[in-house]
């Protein structure tokens, strides 16, 4: 049974009986779509952010550092990517995080797995995908993001690029006077609740605008709008979608609802998924900050590997789905 059926019932009643809109009309359909999607997505956002933030209270960077410094090769990449699923990536923390990892002996490739997974697999995107495409697609997104970060980190590790890390990074001495405070279950729940509040406050205008544009496209755009220009037959669609997605970071929350309605108009799912991953994984402000610790060559290799991984995923899903 559809978990959200009661919400649909309520929205139908609200739109058709209270707002008195014609059932089957374009306007009624678009408004119904808007209200239903908004309610559903905010419920999912609240639940998922709470869950992820709760788990995150166990994953302070200082503890992650210790966990990862003992692991090497592919197992380290896997652990790092898994932890990356639950941690957000604030670009302002990238530099201290990177230095802290490298300094405590976390291998460079493992550090990169974490740096890729943290922004690529993001709980807001997962909640939106679940709400708009169903849990299978959300899971697919998480799984492919995980695989990209494991493989990209592994390759970067094998390339022995340590000399392309800015030299001062190795000179910094980190004092270990950071004490991890023990938290009670109640405190963890309280922290998670605070996260839910602050993230929803931050993303809700983007989500609403995104859903509104999506509802408009859903109601008014012609059925096969994108089939010809961006359909599976066009091999350039995936890389172009990725290139458009890279500079769009701050609007990830707004982009996904729009993309979801473009899928109805003929945009293949793999292309759409690649686009969304490019939006969340690579962003200009993050690159500028990472430049402080990475020499241009390493930064370029990092961007290239992640971009190629995302493009590959796009083709793969276009092919299997």
């Amino acid at each position: 049974m559809d978990l959200f059926y009661p919400i649909q019932m309520f929205v139908n009643w609200l739109v058709y009986s209270i707002f008195n809109l014609q059932q089957g009309s374009i306007l009624g359909g678009a408004i119904n779509f808007f209200v239903y999607d908004s309610i559903k997505i905010f419920i999912l956002l609240a639940v998922i952010i709470f869950g992820v933030s709760y788990i995150r209270t166990y994953l302070a960077p200082e503890r992650v550092k210790k966990l990862l410094s003992k692991r090497f090769e592919i197992l380290g990449n896997m652990t790092a990517s898994t932890i990356g699923i639950f941690t957000p990536f604030c670009s302002c923390s990238a530099v201290p995080l990177f230095i802290g990892f490298v300094e405590s002996g976390v291998p460079l490739g493992v550090t990169f797995s974490y740096l890729i997974a943290a922004p690529l697999i993001n709980e807001v995107a997962a909640a939106l995908l679940w709400g708009l495409f169903g849990w299978k697609i959300a899971l697919l997104y998480i799984a492919s993001g995980w695989i990209i970060s494991v493989i990209a980190g592994f390759i970067l590790g094998k390339m022995h690029l340590e000399k392309y890390v800015e030299d001062y990074v190795y000179k910094i001495k980190v004092k270990n006077n950071m004490k991890l405070d023990k938290k009670t279950q109640k405190q963890r729940a309280k922290d998670a609740y605070q996260e839910v509040k602050s993230i929803i406050k931050k993303v809700f205008p983007y989500v609403l605008i995104g859903i509104a544009i999506g509802a408009f496209i859903h109601g008014y755009a012609p059925e096969n709008l994108l089939t010809n220009i961006a359909g599976k037959g066009n091999w350039f669609a995936v890389p172009i979608a990725v290139l458009i997605g890279v500079p769009l970071y701050s609007n990830a929350a707004g982009v996904i609802p729009i993309v979801s309605s473009l899928i109805e108009k003929g945009l293949p799912l793999g292309t759409a998924l690649a686009f969304m991953m490019a939006v969340v994984a690579l962003s200009l402000p993050e690159m500028i900050i990472l430049r402080k610790v990475l020499k241009p060559r390493l930064l370029a290799i990092y961007i290239a590997i992640v971009t190629l991984g995302i493009i590959f995923t796009g083709y793969l899903f276009n092919w299997i789905l």
């Binding site: 960077p61 201290p96 995080l97 230095i99 004092k175 006077n177």
Partner: protein, 76 residues
């Protein structure tokens, strides 16, 4: 009392600084508020997620933007 705000100058650090100053004014406490943006100095504290708040050389919070009410509790 000496208060330091560790952070590389991102928007979150500025919010934390503003909240700290607000808390100080409301509690009528006089303190030096210093912003530490040099990454080497930040790392000396062992902090890996910014912004972080340091009161009298003790790290009281990291990776979170505290509200002025939360800061007030720490200052008392």
């Amino acid at each position: 009392m000496k208060i330091k705000i560790l952070g590389s100058g991102c928007p979150n650090c500025k919010v934390l600084e503003a909240n700290t100053k607000k808390a100080l004014v409301e509690l009528k406490i006089k303190a030096d508020v210093e912003k530490v943006t040099d990454i080497a100095k930040i790392m000396e504290y062992g902090v890996m997620s910014t912004p972080a708040l340091v009161i009298d050389e003790k790290i009281v919070s990291s990776g979170r933007v505290l509200s002025s009410d939360e800061i007030k509790k720490l200052l008392r």
